[in-house]
């Protein structure tokens, strides 16, 4: 009946998704390794209309024709992989990646997931695992008689054993990177899964080819900026309100039209 009604409702729906996304970013403002998302909007299709209101053909071709749009849609939510702030924790099992890389995690079902959350732990067998208990790949396990753990920037793990004087090398952390990290899928638990859009994981050693170095005793904080999100929230709320006014105006116009008939 009136395009503006559905157009404005598409605007309201989009602003609602905008708010949903802000809420999730804000909820994760203290989640280590969390990467904020951004919503991206795109305009919908356009309808080509002749010169509106012309009751007769003028004959001459119009140099400019009119197009009426049908509103807006959510095109994508893009993860923003900016480095989050680092926080010193002095816990030797906390690791931060300074660069583009991800830790590789082996899930119980045998598939791999990826994370930036370096709050690692030891399980009862001395294996290095994530906070959720998933094994870090390649598997590194610490012997029981370990007194000191050292992880170098290039990912080499060495330990000092109780009876020894010299540190022993246990293995090396590997990191992965992606051609299009924005295409990774969130699977919760601070984990990402690879998709067709992200491309396959590219394995590398820390400190090589910009994949990033490992900083022991630090955690990467969430990269959510509270001020930015709050401003986004104000904008979205107002935009929602404004679109509701467009609905109201269209409704009034319909009422006026309905009043034409005596």
């Amino acid at each position: 009946m009136i395009r503006a009604l559905s157009t404005a409702s598409s605007g309201m729906q989009s602003q609602q998704v905008f708010i949903d996304n802000i809420a999730n970013n804000l909820a994760n403002v203290n989640t280590p390794g969390f990467k904020k998302s951004r919503v991206e909007f795109q305009d919908l299709l356009y309808e080509r209309v002749g010169p509106v209101g012309a009751s007769r053909m003028t004959g001459s071709a119009d140099p400019v024709f009119s197009q009426i749009g049908h509103g807006v849609r959510l095109a994508a939510t893009t993860k923003i992989y900016n480095q989050g702030a680092s926080q010193s924790t002095e816990n030797p099992m906390d690791m931060m990646i300074d660069g583009d890389g991800f830790f590789q995690i082996l899930l119980p079902d045998g598939t791999f997931a990826y994370t930036r959350d370096g709050a690692l732990k030891l399980d009862s067998d001395g294996n290095i695992v994530t906070s959720s208990g998933f094994q870090v790949e390649p598997a590194i396990s610490l012997p029981r008689e370990t007194t000191d753990l050292m992880i170098a920037g290039d990912g080499i793990v060495s330990v000092l054993l109780q009876s020894e004087q010299e540190p022993a090398e246990l293995g090396r952390f590997e990191l992965v990177r992606f051609q299009n990290p924005a295409g990774l899928r969130n699977i919760g638990h601070n984990l990402y899964a690879e998709t067709v859009a992200s491309g396959p994981a590219i394995l590398g050693n820390p400190g090589e080819e910009g994949i990033g170095t490992i900083q022991m005793g630090f955690l990467e904080m969430s990269n959510v900026s509270v001020i930015e999100e709050m401003i986004g929230m104000i904008t979205a709320q107002r935009a929602y309100e404004i679109n509701s006014k467009a609905v109201k105006t269209s409704e009034e116009m319909l009422g006026i039209a309905a009043n034409l008939k005596r």
């Binding site: 795109q42 749009g69 467009a246």
Partner: protein
């Protein structure tokens, strides 16, 4: 007498189209690279000497405000120019520069359409210069194509932030020294809420007034039919 009715009805149609356009502008108040439409009213003289007002919707290609995003592949054009996008339907043009790299290494829009000009992009630290030259870890990876048009208002919107050029219109490559591409920024929608809201009020009032005019024409007509020629 019937002329008056059709003129008033025409005015109502015009205001409806204008309101539809305003709703679309407002719906896209947060759409990256969106260009608002404006309504131009034109008094046309057509056959029979009856004035016939038409409304044309024209895209206003004014610069939108820039927002800092700090993501290297968020590109904004300051001033003239469009990025060139290769779609299934041919070449399209856009100002929405939130790009990604596909697994094959192509620079693409968020819809996966290839952005023309860029070479294969390996993983690494991406930088984009003012002229649109891409470099990854300091190694050159092509130049993003930026084109201009003599009259951008003739471009057709095809949705998803894209514009198409009519057949008789050709783009010209923008000279390097005139380019101003900002990496880490996005161009916001150029919709101004205050203008749109005032226009919406005006459209509604104009609609209402035209309806009143139509109704009074109708009443006069009614009187005419029911009283003229009545004898005794």
């Amino acid at each position: 007498m019937l002329k008056g009715i059709s003129i008033a009805a025409n005015a109502m149609k015009n205001q409806t189209a204008r309101n539809d356009m305003i709703a679309n502008n407002l719906a896209n108040v947060d759409t990256t690279g969106f260009k608002k439409d404006i309504a131009l009213f034109q008094l046309g003289k057509t056959g029979g000497g009856q004035p016939d007002t038409t409304v044309r919707l024209v895209t206003a290609h004014e610069q939108g405000p820039l927002t800092r995003t700090e993501r290297a592949l968020d590109l904004a054009i300051q001033g003239d120019g469009f990025f060139v996008v290769e779609t299934e339907d041919g070449e399209r043009y856009t100002r929405a520069g939130s790009f990604v790299v596909t697994p094959e290494g192509h620079l693409a829009t968020i819809d996966g359409n290839k952005v023309s000009g860029a070479a294969a992009i390996p993983p690494g630290e991406i930088e984009v210069s003012r002229e649109g030259n891409i470099s990854v870890n300091g190694v050159d990876a092509g130049q993003i194509g930026v084109v201009t048009f003599e009259d951008a208002t003739r471009l057709e919107k095809t949705g998803s932030g894209l514009f198409a050029a009519p057949d008789d219109m050709s783009s010209s490559e923008m000279p390097e020294e005139e380019r101003f591409i900002l990496s880490g920024f996005l161009e916001n929608s150029n919709v101004e809420v205050i203008t749109e809201m005032t226009d919406m009020i005006t459209a509604l009032k104009a609609y209402e007034i035209s309806q009143k005019a139509l109704k009074s024409e109708d009443e006069i007509l009614h009187l005419l039919i029911s009283t003229v020629g009545k004898t005794g």
